[in-house]
């Protein structure tokens, strides 16, 4: 069973299918939006298409951040090292959706006005924290290639990419501060993030004696453990 799963996860086709699946939410927005621009009517986007697109791209950003953060726990629990092959793609999709989210807001709500945008970033705390998350995600997207892992060295690279913990937290806070009164969805995302982070904390705790032993025993660079 586990072997079969490993085989499926290792297949190039599975990755192609996963890539296509990640694009579905985008296509479900893009096609009606093109229809709206050409015919002036797209019932799929509801009565307020701009709001709909903003909310959906925001939703998918948080979802992809959480899915990305779920890869390592799942990889360890299921003992499926091949899951790691999907992590970069999923993280980049989070970046893709947050860019769409930002562009929708900047173009359709702020009408390309940098001064209006800055005023909001400085004044509205949910926008401040959202922009902070977006800003932190940029270096991660840039350094997501194998070349950058080599250039930075794995330890440094891994340390940099732990920023995703704070990015996901920024996303959840951004959403929580935005809603008017019904906080169920942001709290649910927050709870999922808490579970994913607790897992990491316990794994880190358990490994503490081992880490200390390694540090004391050999002053040589540690052999890189699998990225988490």
């Amino acid at each position: 069973m586990n072997k079969l799963l490993g085989k499926i996860l290792g297949s190039r086709w599975t990755k192609v299918v996963a890539f296509a699946a990640c694009l579905v939410p985008f296509l479900l927005l893009l096609l009606p939006f093109l229809k709206l621009l050409t015919t002036g009517n797209a019932p799929e986007l509801g009565a307020n298409p701009v709001e709909y697109i903003t909310h959906k791209t925001g939703d998918w950003t948080i979802r992809f951040l959480l899915i990305t953060l779920a890869v390592t726990p799942l990889r360890k629990i299921l003992n499926q090292p091949r899951l790691a092959r999907y992590r970069r793609m999923l993280g980049l999709f989070a970046f893709f959706y947050v860019c769409l989210h930002f562009m929708t807001w900047f173009i359709l709500d702020k009408s390309f006005s940098l001064s209006d945008m800055w005023a909001d970033v400085l004044k509205r705390r949910f926008i401040t924290v959202g922009m902070l998350g977006l800003a932190m995600l940029i270096p991660l997207a840039v350094t997501s290639t194998a070349g950058w892992v080599r250039r930075l060295g794995f330890v440094k690279w891994q340390r940099l990419h732990r920023l995703i913990y704070f990015i996901a937290l920024a996303g959840v806070i951004h959403y929580y501060w935005l809603v008017k009164s019904d906080v169920r969805l942001p709290l649910m995302y927050g709870a999922i993030l808490a579970v994913l982070m607790s897992y990491r904390f316990f794994v880190w705790k358990q490994a503490a004696p081992k880490r200390a032993a390694t540090r004391l025993a050999v002053k040589t660079p540690s052999t890189a453990s699998l990225p988490d």
Binding site: L36, A47, N48, V50, K180, S181
Partner: protein, 306 residues
């Protein structure tokens, strides 16, 4: 059915034909549904006078948007929830009580609501605090007509509104994050202003459930949440009454809640709005484009009394 339409302006002048066709099928659906639910008064309203209120000629928002993009938290917090969850909302029997500091308290049943005063159609802009807006052809009568009938006493300074709440019919309300029943309020002089309307219909028909059937308040110069839906009680009182959103977040929602492009909501600017059906924002107007109410607030600091 008796159908009388204003002669000078037809919906086809302002509403795309496609919308009309949708409206017919919607009406057919709602009639069938009304029959099922035993609603006594679903359907066309007759004897409706045309009024001069035309929102400055702004294009009417299609009925589809007015009925499928709603904030009615008792039926769920998603804009599409009320259309779905208010389908079987029972508006018959219904009573609206008018009481408090009045000489002649009155209680109206469902039929009585439509006979309080002559019905007229008024096209009003409606601006939500969430920065979207619509243009609605309401049918109703001035709130002042009702208040005059009950004869407020000299103690009456404010009008408190209470809306229907039944956790059984509105199970989604428990997740709304605000207290129910929903309460709202106006100063008596605001309530007596000719613009303040009690609506029993829109687009020629009785109110759809999700828009506040069978009777709701419409205060077009204030943010949408002041226009309480599905009213069951109107109480004239001496002191400023509590209002739901103010109780929930006092720094964000004041008692007055006048549409004001210069006073921001703490979390967003109110300078612009998105008219449903338009892609880009348009400027928000002071008092939502109803400058005739300005005298109600003469000498008041509208930053302080937001």
């Amino acid at each position: 059915m008796l159908i009388r339409k204003p002669a000078d302006l037809r919906y086809s002048d302002v509403t795309p034909k496609q919308m009309y066709i949708n409206r017919r099928s919607f009406l057919a659906g709602s009639l069938a549904l009304g029959a099922l639910a035993g609603a006594a008064r679903a359907g066309k309203l007759s004897d409706v006078k045309k009024s001069s209120y035309d929102a400055g000629g702004d294009k009417l928002t299609p009925l589809e948007a007015i009925t499928h993009y709603n904030n009615f938290y008792e039926f769920g917090t998603d804009k599409s929830d009320p259309a779905e969850n208010a389908k079987n909302f029972r508006t018959s029997p219904w009573t609206l009580k008018v009481e408090g500091e009045v000489a002649k308290p009155k209680t109206f049943d469902l039929d009585g609501l439509f006979k309080i005063a002559p019905l007229e159609e008024r096209i009003y802009r409606h601006r939500c605090t969430e920065r979207w807006s619509i243009v609605v052809p309401w049918i109703g009568f001035p709130l002042s007509a009702l208040l005059q009938q009950v004869e407020p006493t000299s103690k009456a300074k404010y009008v408190a509104f209470e809306t229907y709440y039944d956790a059984k019919q509105m199970p989604k309300g428990r997740w709304a994050g605000i207290e129910f029943p929903y309460v709202e309020g106006l100063r008596l002089d605001e309530a007596m202003h000719p613009l303040a309307l009690l609506a029993v219909g829109l687009y020629g028909d009785t109110l759809p459930n999700q828009d506040g059937a069978p009777i709701r308040l419409v205060v077009p110069w204030k943010y949408g949440y002041k226009s309480a839906k599905s009213l069951v009680k109107i109480r004239l009182v001496e002191k400023q009454p509590p209002t739901t959103w103010n109780l929930s977040a006092p720094n964000e929602y004041g008692f007055y809640s006048n549409v004001n492009p210069k006073v921001d909501h703490p979390r967003w600017s109110q300078a612009k709005e998105r008219r449903l059906g338009e892609l880009l924002n348009r400027d928000t107007l002071m008092f939502n484009g109803y400058p005739e109410v300005a005298s109600l607030y003469a000498g008041m600091d509208l930053r302080k009394y937001y």
